[in-house]
């Protein structure tokens, strides 16, 4: 083997959207420049259009029946698989998060580790949320009465603008844990960790269409999704105050469930979440059934 | 020869009116879907190996109604199908012939000629297959044509619309009329299109309705809708023929059709037969597979058992 007289040129990655289990470019053919915290060019990301958003809704709707109908145990296994696969690509995400957020390696590593553990946290919730928020109701009459949570449907998630990975995972995982399907609009400035997450999901047994990831201008993609009549809910985590109000108004058209943005700092994403990001996208269904007595004359037993 | 039910229809007294018939059919025990599917799945885990597999493969080949039901069917296509049915594996004469070829009525004569001198029967779909949406005289003419052309077996479709509307007597009378049109020579298979009947309770009722009306076989489906034969609906029909024989003494055959493509699938169905209806049905007089691509998979698996190496699609004939 002869000695190399030049420095090896590395291979750039083409970042693509993740829609319906596939990795398309934007239908619009557009990209935009993504830079690190110091302004150095990192990559070109797809600049999604409203048609990409529309396609994502179709994919999410198509996947909903199967995902909502999967057993909670099965969903838990798959979410845990995401954690396993992420652990194997930890170094890649540490680098991407460090670049995206201008963090030291160790601080970025803390973000990635917390994000992996967050998948584990929600993996454990899939088969417990019904036991915590559902249950039998002692109605005053000869009826069996049971309330159970069900996923609301297709949920649009505006990922947080500042926390490119831990924040993203913290808003996405609770949506799909309960059986919803999601369309994520990645943080506008630093979408690369989100786009890379698509590659992990695609190899973690998450069925195609359960998570769809779009990059681009939040203010361009979000309004058509907020107005879309086949979207059931929207998480406004990544919207500023003005956009959030505009989207909430649009969402009122078919009474989407809206999770309003909270003002949070980055440390917020490290704290153990409660159940509110799951319950925001759950419907409660209550079933009545007569019990009656054993015989026509009533039971003396 | 098998008992033909036409001379003395069993349970005649329940067919005096639509309401008596309805009362009878709705009085059959209900079917719990989860339990039925669990039982079918559990029988699907039987492990059939070596000698048992060899036996099952040959039995399955002998039960195939090799089928072509396309608008594009031609005499040439039907002739090649007939040749294949008579001698499925040209490289191995020990491979049994299939039970029948199954074609549209206008192809019966060609089919008959192509299997002449063999044990292979000619089955014909009739009664405005697959939708069955035609007037009774048209359906009967369809049947008579096929029988006149030499069909040994008629695969009729029931009027699912009438069944779902609760007009059981109409369905019954049609089957009786078709049976009569079959005459003494042709055996009648009654197709329910289970995918359209939708519920297992309906499939059980249709099975009894068909048997009461004189069906020689009850058959799941046409192969033309989304859901065709499944282990669960076939298990349910096997329970029906088992119970019907216990009650009336009349044995009726079962034919799952559509969607059975692999040897593994076929063997699962044979296990269902063996452990539900019993050994008396393990014969092509009483059990059939309505299939086309299944045959080649059976032949490839057969070659594997004979030669010890996996076969490939180039070593079996295309239809």
């Amino acid at each position: 083997m002869s000695e190399r007289t030049y420095e090896r040129l590395n291979v750039f990655k083409t970042y693509k959207l993740y829609v319906g289990g596939k990795f398309p470019r934007s239908e619009s053919g557009r990209v935009y420049e993504v830079s690190d915290a110091k302004g150095n060019w990192l990559a070109n990301a797809p600049l999604s259009s409203r048609k990409d958003a529309r396609d994502a809704v179709v994919a999410a709707r198509k996947a909903f029946g199967g995902w909502a109908g999967a057993t909670a145990y099965n969903r838990g296994q798959i979410l845990y698989r995401v954690a396993e696969m992420l652990e194997g690509r930890r170094e890649q995400f540490v680098r991407e998060v460090a670049d995206a957020e201008g963090l030291s390696k160790s601080k970025a590593a803390a973000q990635v580790d917390a994000a992996i553990d967050r998948w584990v946290w929600y993996a454990g919730w899939t088969d417990k949320i019904a036991q915590v928020v559902g249950g039998g109701n002692p109605v005053a009459g000869p009826y069996f009465n049971l309330s159970s949570p069900e996923p609301t449907g297709v949920v649009v998630v505006l990922a947080p603008q500042e926390s490119s990975f831990l924040g993203l995972v913290s808003v996405l995982a609770p949506v799909i844990a309960t059986g919803n399907t999601a369309i994520v609009i990645a943080g506008e400035k630093s979408p690369l960790p989100a786009l890379s997450l698509g590659e992990v999901l695609a190899t973690s047994d998450v069925p195609g269409g359960v998570v769809n990831i779009l990059s681009g201008r939040t203010a361009e993609i979000a309004p058509p999704l907020a107005a879309h009549q086949d979207v059931n809910a929207i998480d406004l985590a990544g919207a500023d105050e003005v956009l959030a109000k505009e989207l909430e108004i649009a969402a009122a058209d078919n009474l989407k469930r809206v999770l309003r943005p909270q003002s949070v700092d980055n440390a917020h994403w490290f704290t153990t979440p409660g159940t509110e990001r799951m319950t925001a996208f759950l419907e409660t269904k209550t079933v009545w059934h007569p019990t009656g007595s054993l015989g026509a004359g009533g039971s003396s037993y | 020869m098998p008992t033909t039910a036409s001379t003395a229809l069993p349970l005649k007294d329940v067919t005096t009116s639509n309401s008596t018939l309805r009362r009878y059919l709705h009085g059959l025990p209900g079917v719990d879907a989860v339990g039925l599917e669990a039982r079918a799945a559990s029988l699907g885990t039987r492990s059939i190996k070596t000698t048992a597999k060899a036996y099952a493969i040959d039995l399955a080949i002998s039960m195939v109604d090799l089928t072509t039901l396309e608008g594009a069917d031609t005499p040439g296509k039907v002739r090649s199908l007939g040749a294949k049915a008579v001698r499925p594996d040209p490289t191995d004469r020990t491979a049994p012939a299939t039970a029948a070829v199954c074609v549209y009525p206008d192809m019966v004569a060609v089919a008959k000629e192509s299997v002449a001198g063999s044990t292979v029967k000619v089955a014909s779909v009739a009664t405005a297959f697959p939708a069955g949406r035609a007037a009774l005289p048209v359906k009967l003419a369809d049947v008579r044509d096929a029988v006149a052309a030499g069909a040994d077996e008629i695969d009729m479709v029931i009027d699912r619309g009438a069944f779902l509307a609760g007009n059981y007597l109409k369905v019954y009378e049609e089957i009786v009329a078709v049976k009569e049109a079959c005459g003494a020579s042709a055996r009648l298979k009654v197709i329910f299109e289970t995918g359209e009947l939708s519920t297992y309770d309906n499939i059980r009722r249709a099975s009894w309705l068909g048997m009461i009306a004189g069906a020689d076989f009850i058959k799941t489906s046409t192969g033309k809708v989304a859901v065709n034969a499944t282990p669960a609906n076939t298990l349910l029909m096997l329970e029906a023929v088992r119970d019907f024989r216990a009650q009336t003494g009349v044995q009726v055959g079962v034919k799952p059709a559509g969607g059975i493509r692999t040897t593994k699938d076929a063997i699962k169905f044979l296990v269902l037969v063996n452990e539900t209806a019993g050994a008396d049905w393990l014969d092509n007089h009483w059990f059939r597979f309505g299939a086309s691509s299944l045959l080649n998979d059976l032949l490839m698996q057969r070659q594997k058992l004979t030669t010890g190496r996996y076969s490939g699609p180039d070593y079996v004939t295309v239809d």
């Binding site: 409660g274 054993l294 | 025990p29 039982r39 059939i48 393990l282």
Partner: protein, 490 residues
């Protein structure tokens, strides 16, 4: 049966469809000639050097020689568990969760090996260990893993505390599954454990010790002490044990209750049963027959929640029994490693003797005995599926738990009578209801004094679903959110 079946025409296929043997490979499991006790992360000899043999009940072959724990070993193990408790309970729940997730995954990876091992040591069919025991074991760890960091959502206060060292004694009928039911919730809640497997089935627990090693579980968190009843008694009586969990016979359960009287030990007992499987005349008959078979012949009937009493409405008795007998004739009895075997061996000579004597009592008291024609292997411990008709509430076989493949058939006329008969027992673990009428299911379920009521199904288990008995079937619940309470200071 109205008339004789129509004979089928003779054909080339007149021979029956005989399933060729399809044995699962034994080579996937490597059983060492001897095993020690697992204390503080290591396999050690017992203090007094005692050992016992474990045999395969289907062949009587000796599988391995096992160290037998005595009082000194119990003390050593409890001390190890106590020492480990401090750090284990102080770990963040999310870290404990990850250990349990690791264990769940390793069990999934090694499930075929463990299934074969369990079949060899217990005698139950590979079909059951492969399709029921092992998937449930992994699922149980997976489920409780997820609770470890969510205990403040479980409804037992905001920061529920673990109890300390749990002494756990498990039976031989579902060795690894019972281990999972005990260890998974204990660890998730921050307790450490000393577990005694049954003397006839110690192997899977010892393999589990190896899984703990692979998972990197801290030393002393799980300790396994094989032995007989005296080992269990010593463990339960040990003063530094905070929690006692027992699954087994009602007689031993009562003994345990006496032993711990006056202490502060928290206890859960999962004991015997005499489950009633009630079939109404509007039942889905074919599925009911399957449910009856599953109810009493699953695991050779060696199941505490078995549906050992069939209560059938008189109006459908003949029809149902005909179907049931026909179905029993298709059961395949024999080599538990054969993938087509439905009924395997009885776990031990002792258990076989108990079944045999109770069946003799049934005959002596005038009940009518029936079994399908079946050939039993010559070596090993076997008992043919057995059905008794003409059984009344007064018969021994209607009152005593047989813990074998023996079904007692009783009849009833009205729902009231069904409920009265179902409840007329000292036990209260399980019951089944078969009817297409939803309101009847719920009305009957309301009246039944049993901890688990299955309707239009039987013997269903899930880690999310609590399990446990009324009356002398014990107290406390295992499984589900409720199962956490047994291991928390609430």
């Amino acid at each position: 049966m109205a008339s004789a079946p129509t004979p089928a025409p003779v054909s080339a296929f007149a021979s029956a469809f005989e399933y060729a043997p399809a044995p699962e490979s034994r080579s996937v499991v490597d059983i060492a000639p001897s095993y020690g006790l697992f204390i503080d992360g290591e396999f050690v000899e017992s203090a007094d050097g005692r050992v016992f043999k474990t045999v395969s009940p289907s062949t009587e072959e000796v599988l391995s020689e096992i160290a037998q724990a005595g009082e000194a070993d119990v003390d050593r193990a409890v001390k190890a568990a106590r020492k480990a408790f401090e750090k284990w309970s102080a770990l963040p729940g999310s870290e404990r969760a990850k250990y349990l997730f690791r264990i769940a995954r390793i069990i999934q990876e090694r499930s075929r090996e463990l299934a074969v091992l369990e079949t060899l040591d217990n005698g139950k069919p590979i079909k059951e260990t492969r399709d029921a025991d092992l998937p449930l074991v992994a699922a149980h760890f997976f489920y409780y893993a997820g609770w470890a960091d969510k205990l403040d959502h479980a409804g037992f206060g905001t920061a529920p505390r673990p109890l300390g060292v749990a002494g756990q004694v498990i039976p031989w009928n579902f060795p690894l599954l019972m281990l999972a039911w005990k260890i998974a919730p204990a660890l998730a809640t921050g307790n450490t454990v000393v577990l005694k497997p049954a003397e006839t089935t110690p192997l899977s627990a010892l393999f589990f010790a190896d899984i703990c090693r692979q998972a990197g579980l801290p030393k002393g968190v799980v300790n396994i002490l094989p032995g007989y009843g005296d080992t269990g008694a010593a463990l339960i009586a040990h003063p530094d044990v905070n929690k006692v969990a027992f699954t087994g016979s009602t007689a031993v359960g009562k003994e345990i209750a006496r032993t711990i009287a006056g202490t502060r030990k928290k206890v859960t007992l999962e004991l015997g049963g005499k489950g009633a499987n009630i079939v109404f005349d509007d039942a889905p008959i074919d599925q009911a027959v399957e449910g009856i078979v599953t109810g009493i012949f699953f695991n050779q009937g060696q199941v505490c929640c078995a549906g050992s009493r069939l209560l059938v409405q008189e109006s459908i008795q003949d029809e149902l029994l005909d179907s049931l007998k026909r179905r029993l004739s298709t059961l395949r009895i024999g080599d538990p490693l054969d993938k087509n075997t439905d009924i395997g061996a009885i776990n031990s000579e002792e258990q076989l003797a108990r079944i045999t004597s109770l069946v003799a009592a049934g005959e002596a008291e005038g009940a009518e005995r029936w079994s399908p024609a079946c050939e039993l292997p010559s070596a090993g411990y076997w008992f043919a599926p057995t059905l008794f008709t003409n059984v009344t509430q007064a018969h021994t076989i209607a009152r005593d738990e047989i813990f074998g493949p023996v079904l007692s058939v009783l009849t009833f006329r009205t729902p009231d009578e069904a409920v009265a008969k179902a409840n007329n027992t000292q036990y209260g673990l399980s019951a089944g209801i078969w009817t297409e009428k939803g309101s009847r299911i719920l009305a009957v379920a309301n009246k039944l004094r049993a901890g688990v009521v299955w309707s239009n199904t039987f013997n269903k288990f899930d880690p999310t679903s609590p399990f446990g008995g009324y009356k002398e079937s014990g107290f406390g619940r295992e499984g589900g959110r409720h199962g956490l309470e047994a291991y928390l200071d609430v």
